[in-house]
């Protein structure tokens, strides 16, 4: 049996067509191989519903004449298969009082909204963590197999750990948020953030400009209020009182970027207040000749303030549109727990090695064999996922001195 269980129309359109019964109530069964329907019964403006209902291409809602359709969604689970039933009910016209059933010759369409369809589109690229564990238990665990006996929860643990490790440096699971930097120059770290990849501001052409991290400033993690002897002061419970805001941060936010980058104007020079002021009496820090490449850019800087859990930006970036690229560990959400098929084999090897290496009495040569296999497959996965295409590579090299024929 093939692995694809959706028809082309189910995949591309994300919709199912039904013939109405001709009655006031229509019960539609949503196929279990489709992205499940979500409907908040207590619908509000912000509630998330992932589908729309159409009658002959007209999108329906409870206030739309002539059907005034209301709906109810129920799920039943039988032998592990969830079946969703969508009950559409025609209601009385508030003016005439007449209830009009959907004519049996019409076409009822239930169509997923874009975000759910998009989720569906790339599904074949991945294998779910559930399938990884089930495949592993089938192929690697049992009598006459590599691992004679192991608990499924141990396998699950190593699969998840593997997914975490792979997320950090092998998988292309980079998340990108588009944000605008507020006047406070701080953006809260995303909920599933593990590490950043790159921060960039976006210009009017949509081109990104890298924002670099900086060590020019620092984010204090503890900001005690001090008394006149320099000692931290305490509250009535004996705990040290902290300032809401570090003065270092405050100063950094007020700093003029050009004072650091050297991108000075005559006005800056004449103000005589910046680090690159070359007045003779400021020669103490006028020991630099030329520009420091590390700081000679005008894209701005960011730091991570661990105390507040935010990205802190330099003052020149206020109001800028930025993108925040970061990696997660692949386990934050249920839908996250999927592995690119190109790294599937590497994950199996990772799991085998980790399970075997912790089993007592496993001969060391066996452990080493799987260690090598794990490394080789991980390397393969990295090469595959690095997505090097010879055509693209050649194109890049055309801008260099060496042309590559292909």
């Amino acid at each position: 049996m093939g692995l694809i269980d959706q028809t082309s129309s189910e995949y591309y359109e994300g919709e199912i067509l039904y013939s109405p019964s001709g009655n006031v109530t229509n019960t539609l069964v949503w196929p279990s191989n489709m992205t499940p329907l979500i409907w908040a019964n207590a619908a509000t403006a912000s509630s998330y519903d992932n589908y729309d209902v159409y009658v002959d291409t007209i999108k329906q809602d409870p206030t739309l004449s002539p059907y005034y359709i209301t709906q109810a969604l129920t799920s039943t689970i039988t032998n592990g298969v969830t079946t969703q039933s969508l009950v559409l009910t025609s209601n009385a016209d508030p003016n005439s009082g007449a209830t009009i059933p959907i004519a049996s010759g019409s076409v009822l369409t239930v169509r997923l909204k874009n975000v759910s369809i998009w989720d569906n589109y790339k599904s074949y690229e991945y294998t779910t963590l559930k399938d990884i564990v089930n495949n592993f238990m089938l192929a690697y665990v049992g009598t006459d197999k590599v691992i004679s006996r192991v608990k499924r929860s141990d396998v699950l643990f190593h699969a998840k750990r593997g997914l975490q490790e792979f997320s950090y440096d092998t998988l292309r699971s980079v998340n990108v948020q588009e944000l605008t930097i507020p006047a406070s120059l701080s953006l809260v770290i995303p909920q599933d953030y593990v590490n950043y990849v790159q921060l960039s501001w976006i210009d009017s052409n949509g081109v990104k400009h890298i924002i670099y991290p900086t060590t020019l400033t620092i984010n204090p993690t503890f900001v005690p209020l001090q008394d006149d002897r320099g000692l931290p002061t305490q509250d009535v419970y004996g705990n040290s009182i902290q300032a809401e805001q570090a003065i270092t941060n405050s100063n950094w936010r007020k700093a003029n970027d050009s004072s650091i980058s050297g991108n000075v104007t005559n006005r800056d020079v004449n103000n005589g207040s910046n680090a690159f002021d070359w007045s003779w009496w400021k020669s103490a820090y006028g020991q630099r000749y030329g520009l420091d490449p590390v700081t000679s850019q005008k894209n701005g800087w960011f730091t991570i303030d661990e105390r507040r859990g935010v990205f802190a930006f330099s003052s020149g970036l206020a109001g800028r549109l930025i993108t925040l690229e970061y990696i997660s560990d692949g386990l934050a959400y249920d839908t996250d727990s999927k592995v690119p098929k190109m790294a599937e084999d590497a994950l199996y090897s990772y799991m085998v090695y980790n399970i075997i290496s912790y089993m007592p009495k496993t001969p060391e040569y066996i452990v080493q064999r799987f260690k090598k296999e794990k490394s080789a497959k991980l390397r393969n996965a990295k090469i595959r996922l690095s997505n090097i295409k010879i055509g693209e590579f050649t194109q890049i090299m055309r801008g260099k001195s060496k042309w590559i024929k292909h």
Partner: protein, 359 residues
């Protein structure tokens, strides 16, 4: 195919009689056969374990593992839980003998429940990576009950626990062996090959359970079947019963008033299961031979097959175990008839058989 109980019994009797070593009654044989079948059955699993650890072959008909699995597959069953509580604790099926796996039918594609001890359960829920969910459910198995996690009561929306939530795959215990018989005119035991159904009617005289209600009838033999017609025996079931298909033969010795001395009623067909104490058959006036008033048969415990020696239950183990079964019964028969030679001979043959199979 299962071993025929009559074949084993007659073989054992032949050996014992030939050697002038005494007689084994059906009741003794039934008890010994049940015991022997259980021994052979239990040995399957020990053998299976041993074969798993031995060098194997995949060649058709030569694989010991395949062979032993074939022996016990007949006892393998899939059943829903016997019952459940409102909090989602499921009781295992009553005939479970060896637990195999339990599937969680409310999980996606009915995943197998991983059985964990209380300590493991605690450890597992402390680790964020191994939290149970519907894809990877776990369960505690205590006191013949399974408590799955996550419980269906914690689903969104919550479900009401149903016994079909958990499906057990298990080995049931073999049933008792029974060599059934009827008693012949000379008092001899005659093999009754009909299957033993405890709640069907026992063949034979049922006059003692009959109320003739001062009826009279013409002499003769009449056949009356269970049914709803005027000439039928109309059945009224006591609570929970629902028997069908019984048939009676009524012998009226002399014309006139009916009584237990002038008439006798025999069950000639046992009918289905589910007859019980308190069930009645009413044969209405005029149903046969000038019957003047209705006759009422009220069933008692002695009228059911369970109170007789009738009906047989075959061995459930396969025919390939017949030699072992005969030798096993013989060994125990030797103990009963206090003959050490029989015990030693049967035991020796059994050991030889065992050694050959493990080489």
């Amino acid at each position: 195919m299962a071993i025929n109980v009559n074949t084993v019994y007659t073989t054992v009797l032949s050996i014992i009689n030939k050697e002038q070593r005494g007689y084994l009654t059906p009741d003794e044989f039934n008890k010994l056969s049940t015991q022997v079948q259980l021994e052979i059955f239990e040995k399957f699993f020990e053998d299976y374990n041993q074969f798993l650890r031995m060098p194997k072959t995949d060649v058709e008909f030569a694989s010991r593992m395949d062979h032993i699995m074939e022996e016990f597959q007949i006892f393998e069953k899939n059943e829903d839980a016997f019952s459940t509580t409102a909090t989602g604790v499921y009781t295992q099926p009553t005939d479970l003998h060896r637990f195999g796996t339990a599937s969680y039918t409310k999980g996606l594609q009915s995943p197998i429940l991983e059985i964990v001890g209380s300590r493991d359960y605690k450890q597992q829920i402390l680790s964020p990576l191994t939290q149970p969910n519907t894809n990877f459910p776990i369960a505690k198995y205590q006191g013949d009950k399974i408590t799955p996690f996550p419980s269906v009561t914690s689903f969104n929306p919550p479900l009401v626990p149903d016994k079909s939530d958990i499906n057990f795959n298990y080995i049931r215990k073999p049933g008792d062996v029974r060599w059934g018989y009827t008693v012949g005119s000379l008092g001899q035991y005659i093999y009754d090959s009909r299957p033993f159904i405890a709640t069907s009617l026992g063949l034979g005289n049922i006059t003692s359970s009959t109320n003739f209600n001062s009826a009279s009838a013409t002499a003769g033999t009449y056949i009356v079947s269970q049914g709803a017609g005027a000439s039928d025996a109309v059945y009224t079931a006591a609570a929970g019963n629902s028997g069908t298909g019984a048939k009676f033969s009524i012998l009226v010795a002399s014309t006139g008033a009916l009584s237990s001395t002038t008439a006798s009623i025999e069950v000639t067909e046992s009918g289905s299961k589910d007859f019980g104490v308190g069930d009645t058959f009413v044969i209405a006036a005029g149903a046969f031979g000038g019957l003047t008033a209705s006759i009422t048969i009220t069933l008692t415990a002695v009228n059911l097959m369970s109170a007789t020696g009738q009906g047989s239950l075959q061995f459930e183990i396969s025919e390939s175990q017949q030699t072992d079964a005969v030798l096993g019964v013989l060994k125990y028969a030797g103990i009963i008839i206090k003959d050490t030679m029989v015990i030693q001979a049967a035991g020796g043959l059994q050991n030889l058989d065992e050694q050959n199979s493990k080489k």
